[in-house]
């Protein structure tokens, strides 16, 4: 297993290098720059600005200088837009918020998705199954930018129980986590239902039933392990996605997370902030996929670390 992990980590090095290089040069190819604004800056001042940030040097020199700082010092550079903050500082500020929101949403998604997915599979083709599937379909179809504001209208404006936006008290966590978690729970529910249905028709389940095992034991001990495989495969990139923040949710609820920075930095041509978040997301996705592979081998005896 250690060899497997080491192998995968080594594979990650060229992947990350390619991601950094492609992002770096694509960003520079995009029209406009960090200092392009409604009011054009006089050329003399623009030259001073470019000299300050090293943008006056040849592109390949800038690339290797940047790469050197990232690899040797973990220094992601200063932000172009937020002139007194470094990218490291912004990520250190915002990542915990995204992790918290993503973690809570993941919890909501797993609890709702697994429970209703299993129930739907067990009560296949009954009214309950149709109900859960319909709600699941709605969860996938109704975009968060509709669902979120609806929750705000009800709980913040009509009832006045929670704030409409902000991230100050624990109550402020409820609506964003529910909104984000609900969408993910729909996917998880459908995957769980499909996975469970497949497993419940296998011979070893019939054997367990024949031996007189209780329904609860059959589901939790025997079926769930196999039935969860598709969910686990989805959770790899899904978790990375949740933890790195959601632009829409963070905007709707004014959550100071990383998702908004990621999208806005691209609009602002904040070169260093875009690259910093891209590197972080890439590392997280690589890590999550590795964990998923390990879990899948553990869940599925047919797979081996080869």
């Amino acid at each position: 297993m250690l060899r497997f992990i080491a192998h995968r980590l080594l594979q990650a090095v060229p992947v990350l290098f390619i991601i950094i290089a492609v992002s770096f040069f694509m960003l520079r190819l995009a029209p406009g720059g960090p200092f392009t604004a409604e009011k054009a800056i006089p050329p003399e001042i623009l030259r001073n600005l470019e000299a300050h940030y090293g943008l006056d040097k040849p592109l390949h020199v800038q690339f290797f200088t940047y790469l050197g700082k990232v690899v040797l010092h973990g220094d992601l550079g200063p932000s172009f837009k937020y002139s007194n903050r470094t990218v490291n500082e912004i990520i250190a500020d915002k990542l915990p918020v995204s992790l918290e929101l993503g973690g809570l949403a993941l919890l909501v998604a797993l609890v709702l998705g697994l429970t209703f997915g299993i129930l739907a599979a067990l009560r296949r083709n009954t009214f309950l199954d149709y109900l859960y599937s319909t709600v699941g379909m709605l969860g996938i179809c109704v975009p968060t930018f509709v669902f979120g504001p609806l929750l705000v209208l009800l709980f913040a404006i009509q009832l006045g129980w929670v704030n409409a936006s902000g991230w100050y008290t624990w109550q402020d966590r409820v609506l964003p986590a529910l909104t984000l978690g609900f969408v993910f729970s729909a996917y998880i529910m459908r995957l769980t239902r499909a996975g469970m249905l497949e497993v419940l028709h296998q011979d070893y389940i019939r054997t367990a039933r024949a031996k007189g095992a209780s329904e609860v034991r059959i589901v939790l001990r025997h079926a769930l392990r196999g039935g969860l495989l598709p969910v686990v495969a989805f959770l790899g990139p899904g978790t990375a996605d949740l933890l790195t923040g959601s632009f829409v949710i963070e905007t709707i609820f004014q959550v100071p997370g990383l998702g908004r920075e990621f999208v806005n930095s691209a609009f602002n041509r904040d070169y260093t902030l875009v690259l910093g978040t891209v590197i972080l997301f890439a590392v997280l996705i690589v890590a999550c996929n590795l964990v998923v592979d390990l879990v899948q081998v553990w869940l599925n005896p047919k797979l081996k670390f080869e």
């Binding site: 007194n84 500020d93 991230w167």
Partner: protein, 538 residues
């Protein structure tokens, strides 16, 4: 299993209910009682360094933190004393002598001296700081040469402190708007010694503006800055006019989405919003909401017409396009936010200036000009392209004018929508035909709009230039007599509008929401707020 499900639902319900079954007291109600103003400022401030920032949201915070030399009367907009107790102007309008208030101190207790002003402006003009708005200082004698690196001797710049409380500024040309421009963020003095304690004061990006480090001079001082959440500013105990500050605390909220902001306002989280989404203006008007506010704003929307490219290199075609815009309809039916139709570029609020009289809409003349240009009823004209950026308001305006030109002139007009930085890049290289643009004035004078069309101006982008126009602008700049100056400027605007490198569309307004409990809120058309006056009524 079903018992587990019931438990789960009950737990979720409990979680929500625990938030408080009862309606909670809103932040606004709480703030009215305790004197806390909740104020949304649009996007997250890029910094709070008055020399480096360029945005309007940043300015709103900076105006609470840094005191200007001269403030303004909210009713008359005339200059009133602030850091400077009084000032004298030489008869030729070139030399301003400011007598600073001896009682004014920084938040660290240091007195605010004339040397602080000199040091601040020196920092602003130092090339290594690369301040975007340094060009606003070019009205000071020698400032441009120093900023562009032609000299490194700051003594050549017309700023001096002959005494601890005497500041003498020598201008390159008489500028009747000079006192007014002092309100802009970069002109407000900063405390150089505390900046130098954090790092190289002449380079941008050093974190001197964080709470605990920043030394300020204004009615409020910063207590907390949580990026993308809030900036909390308390009343400053060292401010010279602290007895007249009525609010205890201002909390500034960066709210990037106007829809989110509007919901926050309705939920009682904000006293004042940044802006009201266009789609909601009609509803607030219908309900005659006491919260709806429409303020004049120095912002004109217009088309840039690329005079370098056929067929718009023909002045007759450009004028025909301009005359065929039904500006009244756009202002009243499309926008509905109190915007006014614009036949000229300089907004009507501009002091010491009279706009030239121009037709708002003249279809007959437009059709005649189009025929003279060889295209009766639009015949023989290739399709024209309007370039605009992703914005709800701008899209609606572009679509309305596309239809007007199609219906009334028979033109085939296409809309091209690009991301805003791409639009700016194409504008710079002249890669457009018709570009929907706007310009927000930097100071309260017609030249902030008219200087754009000088042939060497960096923001012209239309390819149009005229020696006569430049000469008129130069003569106006050298004229101290206000009436004569205004006449020259009006002549210049008329000349420019006749040549039609631009087609004005409307004068914008600032539409936003304000709780009725906020009193004496008087922003100037330049978006300056004197926070001393603001009160909250419980």
């Amino acid at each position: 299993m079903s018992r587990g499900l019931t438990f789960l639902l009950a737990a979720l319900a409990a979680l929500l209910l625990a938030g408080g079954c009862a309606r909670r007291e809103t932040a606004v109600a709480n703030g009215n009682r305790d004197g806390v103003l909740h104020f949304s400022i649009g996007s997250e401030p890029t910094d709070l360094d008055p020399h480096v920032v360029t945005g309007i949201g940043e300015a709103k915070v900076i105006h609470a933190l840094f005191e200007p030399l001269v403030s303004f009367d909210p009713a008359t907009l005339k200059p009133v004393p602030a850091l400077a107790e009084r000032w004298d102007v030489s008869p030729d309008g070139l030399v301003y002598t400011f007598h600073l208030r001896a009682t004014a101190v920084w938040t660290n207790g240091d007195p605010i001296t004339a040397q602080d002003c000199v040091d601040s402006w020196r920092r602003m003009l130092t090339p290594s700081l690369a301040a975007d708005y340094a060009y606003l200082f070019y009205i000071i004698r020698g400032a441009e040469d120093f900023n562009k690196g032609r000299t490194t001797d700051f003594a050549t710049v017309g700023v001096a402190a002959p005494g601890p409380h005497t500041l003498v500024v020598t201008l390159a040309q008489p500028a009747p708007y000079f006192l007014q421009i002092l309100l802009n963020s970069p002109w407000r003095p900063v405390h150089l010694r505390s900046i130098a304690a954090v790092g190289d004061a002449y380079r941008r990006g050093i974190p001197w503006t964080r709470p605990g480090r920043i030394v300020t001079s204004g009615p409020f001082m910063i207590k907390e800055w949580s990026p993308h959440q809030r900036i909390v500013a308390d009343r400053s105990p060292t401010y010279w006019d602290r007895a007249n500050v009525k609010v205890n605390t201002i909390i500034f909220y960066p709210t990037e989405s106007v829809d989110v902001e509007e919901r926050g306002f309705r939920a009682g989280q904000l006293h004042i919003t940044w802006s009201l989404p266009l789609g909601k203006v009609a509803a607030y008007r219908r309900e005659q909401s006491p919260s709806l506010r429409v303020d004049p704003y120095l912002d004109t929307y217009f088309f840039r017409l690329n005079t370098r490219r056929a067929p718009l290199d023909d002045v007759r075609l450009r004028r025909a396009l301009s005359l065929a815009i039904d500006r009244q309809l756009i202002a009243e039916k499309v926008l509905q936010g109190g915007q006014r139709p614009a036949a000229t570029l300089v907004p009507p609020e501009m002091p010491d200036y009279t706009q030239p009289v121009r037709p708002l809409h003249d279809l007959a003349a437009a059709r005649r000009l189009l025929a003279e240009a060889g295209h009766p009823d639009g015949r023989g004209l290739p399709p024209l392209e309007i370039l605009y950026n992703n914005s709800e308001i701008i899209r609606l305006v572009a679509e309305a004018i596309q239809e007007m030109w199609r219906r009334d002139l028979g033109l085939d007009v296409r809309l091209v929508n690009q991301e805003y930085k791409v639009v700016f890049a194409n504008r710079r290289t002249g890669n457009y035909q018709i570009l929907l643009s706007d310009w927000v004035g930097d100071y309260l004078d017609a030249t902030t709009f008219l200087d754009l069309w000088r042939s060497d101006a960096g923001n012209n982008h239309t390819g149009w230039g005229s020696a006569d126009y430049d000469a008129l602008m130069n003569r106006a700049a050298a004229t101290a007599d206000l009436a004569a100056r205004a006449a020259l400027l009006q002549q210049a605007e008329t000349l420019m509008l006749d040549a039609a490198p631009i087609a004005p569309i409307y004068f914008n307004t600032h539409v936003y929401l304000q709780q009725p409990s906020v009193k004496d809120w008087h922003p100037s058309p330049m978006d300056h707020i004197d926070y001393r006056h603001v009160r909250l009524e419980p």
